[in-house]
């Protein structure tokens, strides 16, 4: 027993290279002062991917509707700021709470059925919310999006400015906090049971793990984190639109996670950096047809395999290649 605990503690321990990495990340809005906006975006997307990783990478739930929680967080934070009070931290908490509530409600939908059923119900939830946000235009602004969200200064001190430096720090800090919490979470005994469920659900059930309640709980937590990402986006851009719920958001975040590596907490972050930089580069060349390249990239990624794509030197070794690669 104590052996397992040691093991868990060890995998959860901070490695030596991680501290300077995070310091560097936190310093980046200063070092690359012209790019604070994109740093902010990367941090948000990374947080979103991290939340998807919790359910996809650690529990094995395939979801095509993760944008539902992202949008929920964004809209509730934006509405809160507009109608109640403009404090960012309280707004963030409200966004998280609303998304968590929604996640708890939806967790009933993912407990039964096959991968296909799960894909469909998660997708359906996102669609319903998108439709709702569209139709309740007296509240959400409908297809025009929710405009005029003014945020108060962070902690009463730091104004959100046009350079986006405050925004970048804000998002990075939230990302760091969430990362630390998530790491504790997946390396706890609870996290270990999640991995057991992912690897073999039947066996997990047989050794007495309450599969359903754990899946429901982790889904709720993931929803809350996605809501946090959405809230950050709405707060730092001062805008929320229907596009938040759209299918391509869910698809993009899945892609980000797969690029970076599923079931590895840094995967979402790495993926977010690669994806955002790639998007920035490609869309500055061909703004309209960026989806073509992302599609091509996906196809190649799956056919060649992620492992072999990031390690090109293995292409010619062994001679054991698969399929159309």
């Amino acid at each position: 027993m104590s052996n397992t605990q040691d093991l868990l503690r060890q995998t959860g321990r901070w490695k030596r290279w991680e501290v300077p990495l995070w310091l560097l990340a936190l310093a980046s809005p200063l070092l690359l002062s012209g790019h604070a906006l994109i740093i902010n975006e990367i941090a948000i997307v990374a947080l979103f991917a991290l939340s998807l990783d919790l359910i996809l990478g650690f529990t094995g739930i395939v979801s095509l509707g993760h944008a539902a929680f992202f949008g929920m967080g964004a809209y509730s934070a934006a509405l809160f700021a507009k109608l109640v009070m403009p404090d960012p931290l309280v707004g963030l908490a409200v966004g998280i709470a609303c998304a968590a509530l929604l996640g708890a409600l939806c967790s009933a939908t993912i407990l039964r059925g096959t991968d296909l059923t799960r894909l469909m119900v998660t997708l359906g939830v996102a669609l319903i919310l998108g439709e709702l946000a569209n139709k309740l235009d007296w509240l959400t602004g409908g297809a025009d999006g929710l405009q005029g969200v003014m945020m108060g200064p962070l902690l009463g001190q730091f104004e959100f400015d046009l350079t986006g430096r405050t925004a970048a720090w804000y998002s990075l800090t939230v990302l760091l906090v969430v990362f630390v919490i998530t790491r504790r979470f997946v390396n706890s005994p609870f996290g270990a049971t999640l991995k057991a469920i992912r690897d073999n659900r039947l066996r997990a059930m047989a050794i007495g793990i309450a599969v359903n309640s754990r899946m429901a709980l982790v889904y709720t937590v993931a929803a809350a984190l996605a809501g946090a990402a959405g809230a950050l986006l709405a707060q730092t851009t001062g805008f929320a639109s229907l596009d938040l719920f759209e299918f391509h958001r869910s698809a993009d975040v899945m892609l980000i996670l797969v690029i970076g590596g599923v079931g590895w907490l840094y995967g979402g972050i790495t993926g977010a950096i690669v994806f955002k930089l790639m998007q920035d580069a490609i869309s500055s060349i061909t703004p309209q047809y960026w989806t073509f390249w992302i599609g091509l990239f996906l196809v190649v990624l799956v056919l060649v395999g992620r492992e072999r794509l990031i390690r090109p030197w293995t292409w010619f070794g062994k001679g054991k290649t698969g399929g159309a690669a």
């Binding site: 939908t109 299918f247 599609g295 159309a324």
Partner: protein
């Protein structure tokens, strides 16, 4: 009211033709193919281009759309899809999303992002009405035509799957590939044919539906959800499941949009979620069916 029912049935039939190919690849071959709508779009664009640029008559365009998308499907199956049959579902989802994105962007690039309009021949444009008041039945000739074509196709498909040699080979290959191969069935060929026919049907559906559903480069993404609902709700073990699901969906959608337009797609999605929570394997599943 009857008119709505009639339109709903026509719409459902159309969805069925679009989705039945997907039901086969997804249900029988166990491949989650989100790119199915792209084949439908190809069929639609083949029809539009042939009619506009070359003046080919509409009726001739339909089989051409079928053949065109079937060939494309066969080509892609051979080159891209086959290595993925045994990969995890996540890989299949990612791959087919990628393919869809590429198709959308390509259609946008080559043909333009505008909505395409199909000029129907004169004899399909009319409308016949019976009765009066609440029970009036107005049948657009084109919808009648769609129902006729789809009904004929359904019967033909059912016949092929249950009564012919090819059907039994397909079912055998699906149930156990290794044994089927051992019995001398060329599994690869069977799958190739099935996939091609499925894509061809999608293309035909796209060609037929271009007038009703509208055709623009976002078609695969817009209707992907509907195909998936049909397949998920109908279950994948038979032809009748998706057919009934498509009819249900078509009628619910048309009626919902007519009576409560404010809710839009809301009804359909909620209906789907409710059904899937209630019966995760789909509504019409045989006991022990795959």
């Amino acid at each position: 009211m009857l008119t709505i029912l009639f339109d709903g049935i026509a719409y459902g039939m159309l969805l069925f033709i679009l989705a039945v190919g997907l039901a086969v690849t997804m249900g029988l071959m166990n491949f989650i193919n989100l790119a199915h709508g792209a084949f439908a779009m190809v069929g639609g664009y083949i029809t539009v281009l042939l009619m506009q640029k070359f003046g080919v008559p509409f009726l001739l365009c339909l089989p051409l759309a079928f053949v065109g998308s079937a060939l494309l499907g066969a080509l892609l199956e051979r080159t891209l899809y086959r290595p993925l049959y045994h990969k995890p579902h996540l890989d299949q989802v990612l791959f087919s999303i990628g393919l869809t994105f590429m198709a959308v962007a390509s259609a946008d690039y080559f043909i333009g992002s505008g909505q395409q309009i199909i000029q129907l021949p004169e004899w399909l444009k009319g409308r016949t009405e019976f009765g009066d008041g609440a029970w009036m039945l107005g049948m657009g000739h084109y919808r009648l035509f769609i129902i006729a074509v789809c009904a004929a196709l359904t019967v033909a498909l059912q016949y092929v799957l249950t009564k012919t040699r090819f059907g039994s080979r397909l079912r055998a290959s699906v149930d156990d590939q290794r044994v089927a191969a051992g019995m001398g069935i060329n599994v690869n060929l069977v799958f190739l044919t099935t996939f091609a026919v499925g894509s061809g049907l999608a293309g035909l559906g796209g060609a037929l539906g271009a007038e009703v559903l509208g055709l623009d480069p976002s078609f695969p993404l817009k209707f992907m959800i509907y195909f998936l609902i049909v397949v998920a709700v109908g279950g994948t073990s038979s032809i009748t499941g998706p057919l009934l699901a498509a009819l249900l969906l078509g009628i619910a959608d048309v009626a919902g949009k007519y009576y409560i337009p404010k809710l839009g797609g809301f009804i359909v999605y909620s209906l789907m979620i409710a059904i899937l929570i209630w019966r995760p394997q789909g509504l019409f599943v045989r006991k022990g069916g795959k």
